[in-house]
Amino acid sequence: MGEAATVILPKQSVFLSKVMDMLPEGGHLSMCLTCGLCASGCPASGLHDMDPRKFLRLCALGQDEMVLSSPWVWMCTMCQRCVYACPMAIDIPRLIYEARAAWPREDRPKGILGSCDQALKNESNSAMGARSEDFVFVAGDILEEVKEAQPAWEDMQVSFNRPGAEYFLNQNSREPVTEPDEMVPLWKILHTVGCDWTYGTIGWAAENYCMFLADDAAWETIVRNKVKAVEDLGCRYWLNTE
């Protein structure tokens, strides 16, 4: 049994035109063949009665109200598998991003909003609100413990803000905040290979919820803070732990 037909009156989508104007080649958003490869390979298909093809079709038929009020935009992870599978390389995730951005900021999911605001408040950019002085303290504390309990690692070092280090290593704040021992295996690996690395006290937190919040200004602030931190130390690489 198929679903009952929904009667809608096709309109011109202001939203779709706006997004198409932003993208090179309009993000191919007008090229949908309705084949459904996007929807069949999307883990979010079916949640809240929505899927990527349906979302794009609703846009194409000008149903802006429905598209811009659907909570489904927070259930798509913008993982880009739909673009990868699509024969026309249609940028549906960008459409989702802009639909998120069209929500009044205060109406966006509180957890994502709160994580972004925490990151903005703190020079660490930690979504968990971790302060840099705590990070420095925790790292030092754990390092001492390791040296004491595992003498083979007596020479291991962890530096902060060391100018000219080759790698500026960022760290998800989950580690210093909730499971600092998880940093140790990483330090051991870096020490074993003789990697020239440093942590920084500015912009060290790897996570970035402002992008997920679709808040361009906040996202840009965070990226610029991180870029400046790495450049101020003159590091050659910004190293991600994943």
Binding site: G41, P43, A44, L47, H48, W74, M75, T77, M78, C79, Q80, R81, Y84, A85, P109, K110, G111, I112, G114, S115, A127, E145, A149, Q150, A152, Y167, R174, D181, E182, V184, P185, L186, K188, I189, T192, V193, C195, A206, E207, N208, Y209, C210, M211, F212, D216, W219, E220, I222, V223, R224, V227, V230, E231, R236, Y237, W238, L239, N240, T241, E242
Partner: protein, 185 residues
Amino acid sequence: MYAVRAGLQKFKITPKFEIESIIRLYARWIREGRLKVSSDWNRELGVTFTVQDPCQLVRKTYGDPVAEDLRFVVKSVVGEEHFIEMYPNKSNNYCCGGGGGYLQSGYTEERRAYGDRKLRQIVETGADYCIAPCHNCHSQIHDLSEHSGKHFPVVHLWTLICLSMGCLGENERSYLGEDLASVGL
């Protein structure tokens, strides 16, 4: 990583540094012989592993070459015969549902429904462990494993690298299952 890389592009920033992923470095360091890993510890044990390809790292950043690096590292550390692929994989992999802010969005039920496809994919491999080399993937898959009652351990790659070098400390084993809790201690 993706947030910075995409941000640089979006906000037209040209940095004076390059972006690097530790996964690529692990692979390089093993190839260069600087990271002396071995899968000997697992020869008798025969513990099996599958790996999650993080969307941000693979499909959205470096593509299949980094997925190959990831497999090279995993196989070097656990033994080729103890690695089991999920299908589809690499750039065509399914997202686990840990990205996009899902973990903080409050849509917990939807997040788990989303993750069900990933959960089934992992369970179908029959592997004892899932390696999740991304924080959001790790949190999400760990939650899927516990919430579903499957209770397969979900581990970071650094844990296994140190385990394979015989240098994983006692306090660094929170995500290992009982079978590996004391290996190499």
